[in-house]
Symmetry: C2
Subunit: 409 residues, 2 copies
């Protein structure tokens, strides 16, 4: 008898019929003798609809609605689903009990709209599991120590899945979604992309950070820390998907496991920033405090004693970034900010890269043959990324995927 | 500087436009120098839509979805509104903070779907009011001591309004709704019905219990206990409505203040119940434990040693009642239950009745002239009610309203 934590994303619970379908998967694990905890997202496009409602109320005023209230609003989406899943399980004859993030003590920091989980109180979950109940938990949400409702940002339900898997020392976290698993590239772009059966936490983190949208870096990082295997699989089939686990010996022989594309990048260039010690550091620390992840930083010093600094952020962070940057530039008394949204990033990832040479050359060669101009390169021990024009994005991904023979099993 | 608690019902917050309109009324009280707490219902038909969703998930299975999960589901409706009202106030330049029932410690019993408020922790509300913020509270909901979300049943937002008014010792509770106030009769039926400017708690309780749907008996009872005046008024105008207060000398001169009609009555007749001591008491105590209010009880003993017991309940309670009654009849080994839904009740209410004679005769005479057959009569010190056929309902109300000259100022 093990502990299984399952997560169903928004499309997997979009209608009453799909909710019953999800319930069947829950019951199958329960019947197999496992204790089951289920994490759910908001139904279908609920979150988007709530965001639209907030926008309508806010109107065309400058700024944005208060983030605390945004979270109060958005958290209702998952609360609807947990109740309905519990009802579906009851309808199918199984006792279930639903909990909001707050009700199971999913304590986060106070960083509204993108809070981080600090701790999870497993007591109530364990008590109900021991009574033989299936426990349903609202994904994407938590509460601050003061009791204010927070949401965990994009992919927050996966963070919930892994956090609960970790505290319960679950045997597996099943991430049910609307794709078959992790592919060697986005199969909507690369037609011969192949399902990856097993991938290491590190590779998955790198792939996520450079565009594989199925699972967020943060969730995988957490799973790695607590060594919880994640099984990413399709909610409408019974086929096994991709298992994300600790690195194995066999993985080392695969030089490149997959490649990914990021098309929602904005490059910010701060021009004529005073070139004095500490100024750039100040800018980045302010941006960091606003919880905005920056990447691909380049700094050039000009002859007039100023510097140009450029870096990339995700489109979604641009509104927040503008506020922070404008304030900071005013403070330091100089500089202007230019935003370029026509960029993309293509990356290859593989643990085998550590022992292998020529990977970069092979990638650059493939891009060169397709006449794709590389604007910037960044690397980690197991990843190589190139910033390119957005118009070259899909062509570049196809070329790289082919260059490493990823379509072949 | 006083404390004002305002409540906006579902139609008053049905759209972003109306939410801003409500926000203006809040701001007006704030600008007048008051500390303001706002209680809101779910937007428009949200609650009905959530109930439909639950019904779809439950399908045509016997019984009903688990009530705890129903409350988990329904409570989201008000949570959406509190966030949007807080955003609207922020958009109009006023600092506001929203709270769910749980977040302000609105503690209830564990009677899901119709819980009763046990206590309200005023600390968080007072703290935020003292910071100069407008406090928004979700109506209709609370939490048990264990932290499970409950809802307060029909008219629960009014219970929230009065409970908060009571703990804060508010100067007035403003109940904004989609009618001008309390009328001498339902103006949709009686065209010359007149707005009542001032009415006593006791009269309002009686009127509510016999069909005036604007405010529930329970909420008025609570307001009376803590002597909190309630101002029932229209959310789309600035006209004063009806003030519900402690009884004044002037009120005693009004024999009949208003009349009301209840059309959602079911009469249950339990036939051939063993006529033994305690059996009927057992039945009613079981029904009472299920939190179902019964009225107009009649018992007849038959010659065969059995008894017929009949009583009325509201249509909404019939599903719950059937479960309880069927179980009880099986236990006591006899009897059958017959449900008659074609009944109505017409009532007149007035504190002046205490010192006045001939009120009953005047009412019965009016009904007789319209050939309305009276099936049962029940009275209190300040009320007379007659059970009649549903088909006579509107005719009866008009006749009674005219008989007491209620249309004249």
């Amino acid at each position: 008898m093990g502990i299984v934590v399952q997560k169903f994303g928004g499309t997997s619970v979009a209608t009453p019929e799909r909710i019953h379908k999800a319930a069947e998967k829950v019951i199958a694990q329960k019947k197999a003798g496992n204790k089951v905890v289920v994490v759910v997202s908001a139904m279908g496009h609920t979150t988007d609809e709530l965001v639209d409602l907030a926008k309508k109320v806010w109107g065309d005023r400058p700024g944005q609605p208060p983030k605390r209230e945004m979270d109060q609003l958005l958290a209702t989406g998952e609360q609807v689903t947990i109740a309905l899943i519990a009802m579906a399980l009851a309808a199918q004859g199984h006792e279930a009990i639903s909990f909001t993030g707050g009700q199971i003590g999913m304590i986060t920091d106070t960083n509204f709209t993108k809070a981080r989980v600090k701790e999870v109180d497993q007591e109530r979950i364990v008590t109900e599991l021991n009574k033989g109940k299936i426990v349903i938990v609202a994904g994407f949400q938590g509460v601050t120590e003061e009791g204010d409702i927070t949401t965990l940002g994009r992919g927050g339900s996966n963070a919930t899945l892994v956090a609960i898997g970790a505290v319960l020392k679950a045997d597996v976290c099943e991430n049910f979604t609307d794709v078959d698993g992790i592919f060697t590239a986005d199969p909507r772009i690369v037609t011969d992309a192949r399902l990856i059966k097993e991938i290491s936490y590190d590779e998955m983190m790198e792939l996520s950070s450079v565009g594989a949208s199925v699972l967020q870096t943060r969730a995988v990082e957490f799973a790695k820390k607590y060594n919880v295997p994640i099984h990413v699989r399709h909610s409408q089939t019974d086929k096994p998907g991709t298992m994300i686990t600790a690195e194995t010996k066999a993985m080392e022989h695969i030089v490149v496991s997959g490649c990914a594309l990021k098309k929602d990048l904005t490059r910010v260039t701060l021009k004529k920033v005073p070139d004095q010690p500490g100024v750039v550091a100040q800018i980045f620390s302010t941006v960091g405090e606003a919880n905005i992840v920056v990447d691909d930083i380049i700094q050039n010093t000009m002859e007039d004693g100023t510097a140009n600094v450029s870096f990339t952020v995700e489109h979604g962070d641009v509104a927040d970034l503008k506020v922070v940057v404008d304030r900071k530039l005013k403070e330091i008394g100089g500089g202007e900010a230019i935003y370029d949204t026509n960029l993309a990033k293509v990356s290859v990832v593989g643990v085998g890269m550590k022992q292998s040479t020529g990977v970069a050359a092979r990638m650059f060669g493939a891009l060169a043959r397709e006449k794709v101009n590389i604007q910037n390169i960044s690397t980690s021990e197991i990843r190589i990324s190139c910033i390119i024009a957005k118009s070259d994005a899909e062509k570049a991904l196809k070329a790289v995927h082919a260059a490493f023979d990823l379509g072949k099993a």
